[in-house]
């Protein structure tokens, strides 16, 4: 346990709004080993992105970490000053966002933006910074990298732009990269390429990766372990194979059944009945109870505990290994 790269304990991130407190992340705990790839899966509003932003200390107001602990290489990040946090960001923890067209500055060249990211952590003169930038660009598979430093973001295709963003994240060879749906805005073929390359890069450099996505199929092809979030809470966690083959939580089962990739041809896709309740009004017991076909009185009143260390679900009535009784 002590050599885990990241140890998150009971993380709570709240947004104080006029209408009340939104508990976007409501008591999440997990650990991440060096070089491990963790998938963070959930619908919109499940708190997966907020978890990512909480870890790197980039919450927008009025969001704040209301409790819990984030140990990164034995250093407590919760409560760290902005300037201390800034020294970690980009250097040891990097983040990649969903839409590279929005993250890269359209009026600065790739080289200028990369040099800024290098020099944010020392990095020496412009020449050295640009040389490092060019090396990082060729690492992510951008041909003729040195010449491309003078190009502007709009001169790249969508996939190439995301590679540039990844190259910026890789500049300082961070120990942890948080990737917030970085392939969602891309074509499916480009998506597959980027996923394969990210996996290779992470393995090659021993970088741990937290991959945030709404798409279980993507996570299954990439991650070692997966955590399924629902309304700011973990509903299921475990090695990706186990979770996909034998989901314990009815919500995970529902997510899997709604995947076109896993459905038998010609069969109608399942969908989870109902919709995510308002985060201002989270059900008192199991948050999924109102939409769950197995829910009992116990589920509606008592928050569920968890079973196994390796693969577990926060559910009073976990599904048995033989399959989903949803039918």
């Amino acid at each position: 346990m002590s050599k885990a790269l990241l140890q998150v304990r009971d993380l709570r991130t709240h947004f104080e709004t006029r209408a009340g407190t939104i508990k976007a992340v409501d008591g999440i705990s997990f650990t991440l080993e060096r070089g491990e790839i963790l998938g963070l899966v959930g619908e919109s509003g499940s708190g997966k992105s907020v978890t990512g932003f909480s870890l790197i200390g980039l919450l927008d107001a009025p969001g704040r970490i209301a409790g819990g602990s984030v140990l990164f290489d034995r250093q407590e990040l919760v409560g760290l000053s902005q300037s201390e946090m800034r020294k970690l960001r980009g250097k040891r923890i990097a983040m990649i966002f969903q839409d590279p067209a929005a993250t890269l500055n359209p009026v600065l060249t790739i080289g200028q933006q990369m040099a800024m990211a290098v020099q944010a952590h020392g990095g020496g003169g412009d020449g050295a910074a640009l040389a490092l930038a060019a090396r990082s660009l060729s690492r992510v598979g951008i041909p003729d990298a040195a010449a491309r430093l003078n190009a502007y973001p709009h001169e790249f295709s969508g996939g190439m732009r995301q590679r540039v963003a990844i190259a910026i994240a890789l500049l300082h060879e961070p120990e942890l990269i948080i990737a917030d749906e970085p392939t969602t805005a891309l074509d499916v073929s480009i998506q597959a390429q980027i996923l394969a390359e990210m996996k290779m890069l992470a393995q090659g450099s021993g970088t741990a990766l937290i991959w945030i996505s709404h798409d279980l199929a993507i996570v299954s092809s990439l991650a070692d372990r997966v955590i399924v979030l629902y309304l700011g809470r973990i509903v299921e966690y475990g090695p990706v194979r186990d979770v996909l083959r034998a989901p314990l939580h009815p919500y995970t089962r529902g997510l899997l059944d709604s995947l076109p990739a896993l459905a038998a041809p010609g069969q109608k896709l399942m969908q989870i009945p109902g919709s995510t309740p308002s985060p201002l009004n989270v059900p008192p017991g199991c948050p999924f109870a109102p939409r769950c076909s197995h829910a009992t009185e116990l589920c509606r009143s008592e928050p569920p505990g968890v079973g196994d260390e390796r693969h577990g679900a926060f559910c009073h009535h976990p599904l048995n290994a033989s399959g989903g009784p949803n039918a």
Partner: protein, 324 residues
């Protein structure tokens, strides 16, 4: 890029043509200049000779074409009142206005933009709220009143700065400039301060709004995730991203200050073009009015052209002949 410039130049030509027609017809509609030019008790012969001399017996379109022909040769006519070429008259007054306008927009930009960026960066801080309150004053208090208060405070009561005229000037290219001497700068200070308040307020509000928007964008989030300091983000990312609306307003304000600094020039007896146009209107000096308006239109067209080219410098996406 070259095609873009040529296209813009052709457009500018059409704007100038339209403007010349508007000005000519508009001033023609004011009244008969003959009543001003010759005394009411002149004989009919003299009257008709004068009308023929100025070509006023011809139809409007012929007069306009003749005017356009002279205009293309750089001839704006002679002042009825002072009997010197209009171009010479306006150009002798323009430097004074030019340095006054430039001083005021530059103060507005160099003070207003940083203040506005700060106010957008820390919208909740007391300093930002003070900046915004002061900018409301800049918008709403009338220029003439501020001018009088400035004179009363700094010229009359404190006796720090002079309140009228231009002071010592230095001749460059045959015209006098006061910003190159200490004495001239002292004379420039109060009118420039007076003129800059509105621009200052406007640039503060514009840069604040832009900064607030950009600070929430993914670009800034990504820059922060890369570990950039907020100061670097404001200086290198935000300033560049908000610069296009700022340049637009800067250009427009510069143009309108050049053309219509009338109130300030009158209060501070600044010998610029604003005073010239007021004088020529009261004496119905038609060539000066027409010539002045044509020159103002030309200045505006030129400034707009420069602003458009600056867009292309600031935003690489506009450089490939693509239009916004």
């Amino acid at each position: 890029m070259l095609g873009y410039i040529i296209q813009r130049l052709i457009q500018s030509g059409f704007v100038m043509l339209a403007m010349s027609a508007l000005v000519f017809v508009g001033v023609y509609a004011i009244g008969n200049p003959i009543d001003v030019l010759i005394s009411p008790d002149a004989t009919q012969d003299i009257r008709e000779a004068t009308i023929r001399h100025y070509g006023l017996d011809q139809p409007l379109w012929q007069q306009y074409l003749a005017f356009l022909g002279r205009l293309l040769q750089g001839d704006l006519g002679r002042s009825f009142v002072l009997n010197i070429p209009v171009l010479q008259l306006v150009l002798s007054r323009l430097p004074a206005t030019l340095e006054l306008a430039l001083a005021s927009v530059l103060i507005g930009a160099f003070v207003g933009i940083p203040l506005g960026i700060y106010a957008g960066y820390r919208p909740e801080s007391p300093v930002s709220k003070t900046i915004m309150a002061v900018s409301v004053l800049g918008f709403s208090v009338p220029t003439f009143w501020v001018g009088l208060i400035l004179i009363l405070t700094f010229a009359v009561n404190l006796d720090w700065l002079p309140a009228g005229d231009r002071g010592e000037t230095v001749e460059i290219f045959g015209v006098g400039w006061s910003f190159l001497t200490w004495d001239g700068l002292r004379f420039l200070a109060l009118p420039a301060l007076n003129l800059c308040l509105f621009k200052l307020a406007m640039l503060i509000r514009l840069s604040r709004a832009g900064t607030r928007e950009i600070m929430l964008s993914d670009t800034v989030k990504f820059a922060r995730a890369a570990g950039l300091s907020d100061f670097t983000i404001l200086r290198r990312h935000v300033l560049r991203l908000i610069s296009i609306p700022l340049v637009t307003v800067f250009g427009l304000e510069f143009g309108s200050t050049l053309a219509f600094a009338v109130v300030t020039e009158t209060i501070f007896s600044w010998p610029g073009v604003g005073k010239l146009i007021i004088d020529s209107i009261t004496s119905l000096d038609r060539p000066v009015m027409v010539g002045y308006l044509i020159l103002v239109a030309f200045l505006f067209v030129t400034i707009n052209l420069v602003v458009d080219l600056t867009y292309a410098l600031l935003d690489p996406r506009l450089r490939r002949g693509r239009r916004v």
